[in-house]
Symmetry: C2
Subunit: 281 residues, 2 copies
């Protein structure tokens, strides 16, 4: 994952090298310090389809830029109002709200620009950009965030199927896009990688919910206990800690099984699924 982070970092630095001013600085800042799981998934999926890192790097940088934008906007005072992200002040705290809105907006545009620059045929690049738009928009990430905010003010907490659907949009859509991107670059069937991404996405979110209960703000680099404080329905509040953990483990099994067509070549992705579900940060 460190190598994936370095490839993504280089591609983002290259994209921003000519830009100056606070918004460009905030864009750089917002893309620093993450685990880089989404970019890693892109690069690994591409490798399985014979596409080396340099060609896949723009798509990996694209999904990390998209993810970074979503965090910057989710942290805004009018949204989750968070002061801390990846162990540092959030963008609107380090700069101001206008800079955070604009940096997020520009990161989203950058994500699409990068997706269009992936090293694969035009048809495949177009498929990357077009599916990224769906994963990021009202039918995906933004739709999930909207449902999440609506749930906070609803009188009845969400049931398990509604939380599953919401999280599938909010975090799942982009993770699945990342996992499936390599197959799309190659013009190959992306069903197996997409199934892997779906299961991994849900396992990832369950781990997130568990960390919000059990995690430590210091090592996580962000606030904890926010879900319970807000009376929010999560996998943990709905299933209990033990059953949530068991569900995550079973999803990791599903994710690994989805990779069967790739055999042992996909072991790094299987490792990533186990990491996503059991991570401590």
């Amino acid at each position: 994952m460190a190598r994936a982070r370095a490839l993504v970092r280089d591609r983002l630095d290259e994209a921003l090298v000519a830009e100056a001013g606070p918004v460009a600085e905030a864009m750089r800042y917002a893309t620093e310090g993450g685990k880089g799981l989404r970019g890693f998934l892109v690069l690994e999926g591409a490798r399985l389809h014979g596409i080396e890192g340099a060609r896949a790097a723009p798509a990996a940088a694209a999904v990390e830029a998209m993810h970074a934008y979503s965090l910057v906007h989710d942290d805004l005072p009018c949204m989750d109002d968070d002061d801390l992200r990846r162990g540092r002040p959030t963008v609107h705290r380090a700069w101001d709200e206008a800079t955070a809105v604009l940096a997020g907006d520009a990161l989203q545009a950058l994500a699409f620009g990068l997706a269009c620059e992936t090293g694969c045929p035009a048809e495949a690049r177009l498929a990357l950009a077009s599916t990224l738009a769906r994963a990021a928009g009202i039918g995906g990430m933004v739709g999930g965030q909207a449902a999440d905010i609506a749930a906070e003010t609803a009188s009845v907490p969400l049931a398990l199927d509604a939380v599953t659907r919401l999280q599938g949009m909010k975090t799942g859509a982009l993770l699945t896009w990342a996992a499936a991107a390599g197959a799309r670059m190659a013009g190959a069937d992306d069903a197996a990688l997409a199934r892997y991404g779906d299961a991994l996405g849900l396992a990832f979110q369950i781990a997130d919910d568990i960390l919000d209960v059990e995690g430590d703000a210091g090592s996580l680099g962000k606030a904890v206990g926010k879900d319970a404080g807000a009376g929010k329905a999560t996998f943990v509040s709905l299933l209990g800690l033990d059953a949530a953990r068991a569900r995550a483990t079973s999803l990791v099994g599903e994710a690994c099984a989805a990779l069967d067509p790739y055999g042992a070549a996909a072991d790094t992705l299987r490792e990533a699924a186990r990491f996503a579900a059991s991570r401590r940060t």
Copy 2:
């Protein structure tokens, strides 16, 4: 322009028909009531290259969605803090700030999704999406808005060349993209249409500055007198009203001359340039 608006409306309605909830409603609301100049430019440029309305409509809808998102975010309290837009409450006033941020975010994603669906070869669709990313991002629209905000707190007002560059990014980049899109769809040289778009964009902005001084909030559907109130350098404050008007007229001449290669077939676009520079709303 009414026919262009109807085509764009249909395409946006189709894109949003399956979406429910306040953010989707706000997206629809934010794309209503504008002049539709950008979408019109796309459709006219496409017509000059033999591409009929139905095929070009997704790109026209894309640029209107992109423009609408930029207005929703620009109107936010942390940006220009406007209550009125197109004669109605701004999105954050009609709903709330979180809905406005999310609706803008989802409109931007939608814009890229639509650009990818334009009725032209994959290479051309890719060029549309890729150039749209540049026009919308830190090197274009967002960069211009960032420079505009920075100028507000600067100790010295901007000089004419800096204002020209800033406006070329803030409003010009997207207008030029719209004007040039038809040539890109056809895989043709877009230099003439891009020159037209550059001149029209500047004329359009000068008209905007004049309307901020001379216009009437009722018929404009937005606040006026904001530039002078903020001590902002505009074409009017730098040139004076008469010279600003003369500059706009000369830019309309440039815009019309750029269309020479298209002969009389481009008369509607020439008309649009005159309209953009002398509009009362």
